[in-house]
């Protein structure tokens, strides 16, 4: 074994009590980092999953209709400054099959679903609810939002006059699978449809309003034969959605909104949460660094005579430096291993203990290899950095003085 490693490990082994204490401190620090990160990452993933469980990553629609002046202003004709906003009517995307094939080729896009989204009413007997009618191509839509996995009754097979509705809407209307309801679109077209499936996407707004039908049926309800009002995309990396939206906007000229833009408040909250996590990680890392540094500084003082002897018998200063750097690094690595294990246990324990009424974890934790790699790199780096000052002190000790006064 190289000299530096041998001496460093022997010193750590020899100072069992000191080594155990600092290892415990590093482990606790790392476990706090792992536990907090797993908890916050899990919460964020859960929030994002819930948010994206009922919405596409990017939505394309025709640009808003802007008011056009009847008379262009000239040098002699002034136009009044008050411009009335145009009312927005449901309009189909021009050449939408071509748009679909264009966006399918955009890097990062993994699913594309053309649809019609419009307002309407669902009526059964005296019950009447304002609804959002979504006309979709079944399989393409499932690739965007997997409603089949969220069914609480029936099936998701959208025939001509079949619909799937949200669970809250089903309760409001008092209907179950197989019942019929009257659907009236904002275009004044109505039809009697059969409820074949009831879903719960975990979003109250969606579960209370969504009625999903076939694209062809929706085209009839909104008098848009062969048309679609929106094209919805799913992307490989949800946090790249805004970049994809900008890319698609440039290619198609359509209004392109990412979930990140639509849920800006949520993202701001997540960002604040991440900042808090980073701050906590920083201070924990600082505490770990101070702990390792203080122990090594004490160790250098305690062993200054031995260091003097090593230097006197011909050990180069750089090897003495390495002895203490290795100690810092080893403390960091060992602390990160035990701390990661402890943090993972804490996180899993917390997840299994705190559950909601359905038995699902209230705080789902996310433990993955990257978190452990981060913790290991952080603790090792901090250990090495913390050892720099004591190691330099040790390597600069004057051997004669150290032997005399050590």
């Amino acid at each position: 074994m190289p000299f530096e490693w041998f001496v460093a490990l022997r010193y750590l082994r020899d100072g069992k009590g000191q080594t155990a204490l600092i290892l415990a401190a590093v482990s606790v620090g790392v476990s706090v980092i792992v536990f907090l990160s797993a908890l916050i990452n899990g919460l964020q993933t859960s929030l994002v999953d819930k948010t994206l469980g009922s919405q596409p990553h990017v939505t394309l629609r025709m640009p808003r209709q802007a008011p056009r002046p009847l008379v262009e202003p000239t040098a002699s004709v002034a136009i009044a400054r008050r411009i009335q906003e145009s009312s927005q009517r449901l309009q189909s995307i021009d050449q939408w099959p071509e748009v679909v094939s264009t966006v399918e080729r955009v890097p990062g896009v993994i699913a594309v679903s053309p649809s019609i989204t419009g307002a309407g009413f669902a009526v059964r007997s005296d019950a009447k609810s304002a609804v959002v009618i979504r006309g979709v191509e079944q399989e393409r839509f499932l690739a965007i939002i997997d409603v089949r996995k969220k069914l609480v009754g029936g099936r998701f097979e959208l025939g001509g006059g079949d619909v799937a509705i949200g669970s809250t809407l089903a309760k409001d209307l008092g209907v179950g699978v197989g019942d019929k309801i009257r659907l009236a679109s904002s275009e004044g077209v109505d039809d009697v449809v059969t409820v074949v499936g009831i879903f719960s996407l975990g979003n109250e707004g969606v579960d209370k309003t969504w009625v999903i039908t076939s694209l062809r049926h929706a085209q009839a309800l909104y008098a848009l034969p062969g048309g679609v009002t929106t094209i919805e995309l799913k992307v490989a990396d949800v946090f790249e959605a805004e970049h994809v939206a900008v890319d698609v906007r440039g290619r198609t000229g359509l209004q392109s909104d990412s979930w990140m833009k639509i849920n800006a408040d949520l993202l701001a909250g997540l960002s604040a949460q991440s900042s808090s996590k980073n701050m906590i990680q920083f201070f924990v890392a600082l505490a770990v660094a101070l702990g390792i540094a203080s122990v090594l500084i004490v160790s250098v003082v305690q062993k200054s005579r031995e260091i003097g002897i090593l230097r006197a018998v011909g050990t180069p200063a750089r090897r003495v430096l390495m002895v203490f750097l290795i100690q810092g690094g080893v403390l960091g690595v060992l602390g990160s291993i035990t701390g990661s294990a402890l943090g993972a246990l804490l996180a899993k324990g917390f997840e299994s203990l705190v559950r909601d009424a359905n038995g699902a974890p209230k705080f789902p934790v996310q433990l993955d290899a990257s978190l452990f790699a981060f913790a290991a790199a952080l603790a090792t780096g901090v250990g090495l950095l913390a050892a720099v000052i004591p190691a330099r002190n040790a390597s600069r000790l004057d051997p004669a003085t150290a032997i005399r006064n050590g």
Partner: protein, 237 residues
């Protein structure tokens, strides 16, 4: 002296800023190969300062130290460390073994610390040296588990492990009882004869000094006396 392993030439050492204290005052000394030289003198006479300068642990204010033909005043810190490791051995009053290491590991330290990676030869050499000092059965003992005399013998083995031409011993028997002192000095004498190693021994013990080949006396930082001992003086008590 042509076969000198060490030449100290007009060395002055001063400490402090402003009002300076002169610890060594124009000391000149040559030590021949195979000699055991006793360095004696009252406390504060400059013995330890001279030993540190000879041992390349300190630099003189003026003058120079030539070790094995190398003018050490021309060397940087790295060069001094390398020369110290290969041409000098140290034995200290309090042996200064590393308590966390076994006897054989302590003896291997100089070569190991210099070379970085241990070799079978290094270990074999250390074990042979420990057998040489009569500790063949204590190789894997920790330094703290050995008696004072045994620890000092390990320190001598460590000093001699790389077969340096010159060993500097600072009060090597100062912390031992009479019997152990005699044993340790006898060991040094035997190794001096067998390996032709030169020793410079700082001592307050007149009996130890008398057994050396030569006695150099320092007073107030100057060489006050320098004489060879007689055969009668050197005879063990």
């Amino acid at each position: 002296m042509d076969d000198a392993v060490l030449r100290v030439e007009d060395v002055v050492k001063e400490y402090g800023k402003g009002v300076k204290t002169r610890a060594l005052d124009h000391v000149t000394l040559a030590v021949g190969a195979g000699e055991i030289t006793a360095l004696v003198g009252p406390s504060g006479s400059g013995k330890s300062t001279l030993l540190n300068i000879i041992g390349l642990l300190d630099r003189p204010t003026s003058g120079r130290v030539v070790l094995g033909g190398v003018d050490t005043s021309t060397l940087d810190e790295r060069g001094l460390t390398a020369l110290r490791g290969r041409r000098l051995g140290f034995v200290f009053q309090f042996h200064h073994l590393l308590p966390a290491f076994t006897a054989v590991e302590n003896v291997m330290l100089p070569a190991w610390g210099d070379g970085g990676v241990p070799s079978a030869d290094m270990r074999a050499g250390a074990e042979a040296m420990l057998r040489e000092v009569g500790l063949g059965d204590r190789m894997s003992y920790r330094a703290t588990d050995l008696s004072g005399g045994q620890q000092q013998r390990v320190a001598i083995a460590r000093a001699l492990a790389r077969r340096p031409p010159l060993v500097l011993a600072d009060e090597p028997t100062g912390n031992l009882d009479t019997v152990s002192s005699a044993e340790v000095f006898a060991l040094m004498r035997r190794l001096n004869r067998e390996l032709r190693t030169t020793f410079i021994v700082v001592t307050h013990d007149p009996r130890i000094a008398a057994q050396c080949d030569r006695i150099v006396e320092l007073v107030d930082g100057r060489v006050h006396g320098d004489r060879l001992t007689t055969a009668e003086e050197r005879a063990p008590p």
